[in-house]
Symmetry: D2
Subunit: 366 residues, 4 copies
């Protein structure tokens, strides 16, 4: 029950969509890391609204400010704190949402959980906006990982039933990940990408939204990260991913596809490639017994359609205690996938760096 994630690298996030500021405290970063802030800002810009016609045109003039933990261009080893002041708030827009519970959102569960004291403006602490500090923290982790030769990429595997070409389970070049990073809708197959865009814009026109799937891959991971019980790599990764709003499912490797495989098909055989044992298949998505196997870590996430839609919906008015209808005004993402992808990649980086730092402690006292 806590806004802190991680065992060795602990990230604490705070803030509400329309409060004074949102931010993060990152505790456990090794000292002496020089951070490329432009790169961090670039990752955050990918997540920011207003970046393309596929996302909400809302602008967030998000200025990150480092409060502590960075001195003479290096991490100090003590907590690195960051904040983003909330601006462009239009809190008044949200007055109706005090009593009219948005379907598909946590408005009513939050109301009950917090006894009516939660900040309801823009979803408050439930807002997707809280993923900005998460992306920030992950972007730092990602830089550390890249120096270790670990690369992360993701793409829109599916938008409203239109499927992109999947990653090759045995790994992809970093160049592909770099190309994907620069796209407003990261896909491998451009034709599919165009069809997806059309589906998104069509839904938007109707005041509606669409969901899909994101596929994420982590290459270059050493063997041995994660534990059989209870902190498997899959456990840690899924724990984090279900903190990303709209994620409703996760599968590793063949995932739900295992249901139609025989064991003899599903087992990844081992072979010697010179001195090094390798697998020529990756049904297990780079994780065996909860531990990284040396094959790329590969997982897919189910992303639900944006809950905020313009279409008129049935819901309740908790002040009047009666049924009502609601059309959510304002500018919403007709599909959250383009903006979810950088959140997912960077959140994955946090998980992996935490596992990596945690693993390092075990290897030296014998």
């Amino acid at each position: 029950m806590s806004n802190t994630f991680g065992e060795t690298l602990k990230v604490t996030i705070f803030g509400e969509s329309h409060g004074t500021a949102i931010g993060a405290v990152i505790d456990g970063l090794p000292p002496g890391i020089s951070i490329d802030w432009d790169e961090v800002r670039r990752e955050m810009a990918r997540r920011a609204p207003g970046s393309s016609n596929l996302a909400t045109p809302r602008k967030e003039k998000d200025q990150i400010e480092i409060l502590s933990g960075y001195f003479r261009d290096h991490t100090t080893g003590t907590p690195l704190a960051m904040e983003i002041r909330n601006t462009n708030q239009h809190s008044g827009d949200y007055d109706i949402l005090k009593d009219h519970m948005r379907p598909g959102h946590a408005d009513y569960t939050g109301f009950v959980k917090y006894g009516g004291f939660n900040d309801y403006r823009g979803g408050g602490h439930f807002s997707g906006r809280i993923t900005a500090p998460l992306t920030f923290a992950g972007a730092i982790a990602r830089q550390v990982l890249e120096k270790e030769g670990i690369y992360i990429g993701a793409h829109a595997a599916d938008v409203h039933g239109i499927r992109d070409c999947p990653f090759h389970p045995l790994g992809e070049e970093k160049a592909l990940f770099d190309r994907l990073d620069r796209k407003k809708l990261p896909v491998i197959d451009e034709e599919k990408g165009k069809a997806m865009e059309e589906a998104i814009l069509a839904a938007q026109k109707e005041g509606d939204s669409v969901g899909g799937m994101v596929e994420c891959m982590i290459c270059g991971l050493p063997m041995g990260l994660g534990d059989p019980f209870f902190d498997s790599l899959e456990s840690e990764m899924s724990h984090m991913m279900f903190s990303v709003p709209a994620v409703k499912g996760i599968e590793f490797g063949s995932g739900f596809g295992f249901a139609s495989l025989f064991g003899s098909e599903a087992n990844d055989s081992l072979h010697y490639a010179g001195e090094k044992p390798v697998s020529l298949t990756n049904h297990n998505g780079g994780v065996l017994g909860g531990i990284s196997s040396g094959s790329p870590v590969l997982f897919r996430l189910a992303v639900k359609p944006t809950a905020s839609i313009g279409k008129r919906q049935k819901t309740i008015d908790i002040a009047k205690k009666e049924d009502t209808e609601l059309s959510i005004g304002g500018r919403h993402d007709p599909c959250i996938i383009p903006r979810a992808i950088p959140v997912i990649e960077n959140a994955a980086a946090l998980v992996i760096l935490d596992l990596l730092l945690t693993d390092r402690r075990n290897s030296h006292v014998r």
Copy 2:
């Protein structure tokens, strides 16, 4: 990186398949709970091998012994420790597995992670046998939940592509869960069950195995359990479920099916049923913003085919550093789902009781 799960109710497990004993320490159980040990043993018998022709005929004469924490027929409030002595070990059967890495198992990742010091006999600490103490702990949690009106059920939603009738997303009667509990292969649709059995036995005949899906439902949960960041109900549940060997995916509610829904279809509308707001759909699987919504919690797990198969497979011999072939002798489960179901139900009970106990602390200082 730890064999302990839970925030308020902490369960620590230990043991290897062929070591002296396996067991659990449960810390945080409230004092004064009277446990129905017959019921605990019944849950453990459901998980035990040798219970039907669908499972390995291996027998484990598992005697649970309570070491502490239970006095005069009630929990004391201090750690409840339990052990099961390992018997029927035939360790010799496993000598070949010291060097021949079983594909689809953690033999080689474990070898690397633990520098070759792990107990390789029967999978050691990676063995499915370690789920026995987990089932034990969960069976106690389940009894506590039942007194609170919270019921858990699961069934084989899919075996090798044969699909059972799903749970009704708005809830099922406890009577159905009770009926499912008594079946060797818990299914709702008996016809489908027979087809599944045939598929399992056919695979077994070939020295092969099959996978599938398990659907699990939790009814009677109060609203408000779980947190938006980072300990959502989905995060906690998936963290636990990926500790159950062979689980490779999890989806809540419509899960991956959200990819083809519009927001206007996917959002669960709210209505007043008298004083009480309810939803007439449950696409979100009982969780909104990471928090229990009052609808039944509903999730499906992807279960991979048993990795241990009799069929000859390619693999490596790490002593000789050369490729080899391996046919895993002994008696294996041709499909792990019948035995995984009680593990899943009881592990889910642990997660829910931990969330429930954790939640209670928040509600009293105002």
Copy 3:
């Protein structure tokens, strides 16, 4: 290894003395608490420098700013984040301290631990200034406790060997604690207070400093807080107190005085006072077997003399790798006790509220 304290009420602190800002994130505060901010500021002013002739005349124009977690005059139940911008920094004053390690400070241990990357200005993250956000968090906890009838007081039990009259081990009136709160040097015996002041001012004149002891008492605590292993009330309290800079010892009740008592003298007998069992002595300082006994919690802390002194001291220059001498310029506290007292009281409040909230979860599922 973490800047987060607490199990149910988690406080994360960040910042360096001369960085951009210092602050705290408080996670786990129940929703619906209305905070008296003037009272919080009053507690922080007690800790602030420049408040009397006994403390450093440095002024910190500390403005607390609430970043999140407080909405419409109540806590939301989500993280309450706060920051204080650093002003009046005179970083240049500290240039010499980059290489000249101050004796009695963590300059050199910090240099080694963080590989030379720590912020050395004003002690960086080791600075006593980091107790400002701790005091802030504790002042909120204290308000919650007071509503529950739990009061905390502390006084200068000893300054350079001059001893104040001790608290009565069976408890003191809140009125006494209130009077102590308003004194620049909180003592019970004014005569002793004057002698202490003289000792402090005499040391200051010599460019030196003095230490002493602080006695702290918590009245009104219910029985049953804390655990035998490993989270005894004494364990939790000492864990926190040794985070307060300059604290080098803690004793509960008769503490080191137990060395000269017989068991028959040391045991606190129980008697019925009407329906209620009470003790007429409190040698155990309100804690038995790690658990609050219902008697006031009473502990004393050893506080070392301020390490920063004007007097010339021998030390090392790590740049030149040679011995040198150092006279620490600037304005220092000749005795830290007057400013440590509010830190101690409020940090104690954090510990107690965490124990109280943690305890609440145990009492409801039977």
Copy 4:
């Protein structure tokens, strides 16, 4: 609120004095450690009752049994579980203690905390007997530390006011620690030891008990262990030490003696001894800013007189709800210090190994 201690090396303990078994699960031990079990048994024998005329003549035929985590003479890297079956229980002896609350014990606080469900026989989970598994775990940690050149020693610094010669604050030879280990009452000054023995036996004759102080030193620790907030070396050590029954105070270095020192006396100056900075004093007990300074870690503990005494004491009968008198029969330790010393040394080893393993993770990603 948990029977688990440690961040990287987690020890979970369980059991009651007169339950079926007591034991420990050690999670996080690196794989590949070969343990000298005779040495572990020797440490446990030092703690066991019946070892000398200064301790209770009760015999515990404690057989340790390893349940998991040790394979082919090395740790596996997965949980090492151990149990000791309780024998020689004489539970009947304790029937009177169900209702007659022993003064100075946790009988009544435990009764209230656990709602009357705690095991009252022999103190149940509060019993000093629970330190046996703690000593076991610590004895393993100690062996690991010794291979790293880290040595721990302790002695009876004070028994009922009779003071032993203190350790030299700049360190002692391992040979002295070894000699102390073999004594039934570890003291440096044999004359003082004899006087202490007489004081103990005299108290015993009166059906009474005495307390004292234990001084503990850790030599060979590298610089940099521990953190400024909140997990200082002092915080971690005191957290553990207050879990050792009868410990009521802890001070590091000059501790409460700082109250009469000037800053100019108390600061440990630094000098170059060749390339290496050293201090010629150790007022800070080897810890500066919460971090190990390279000087030996030195602390003293206040140990209260054994609460169980034969002398008649006033107390309450909670069944009859009336005052009564109690003379505790059976065989008790007239002074717990001889048996507390090995517990303290080994518990200290656990803390240090945890800090060491935790520290290792930070040093590799730059």
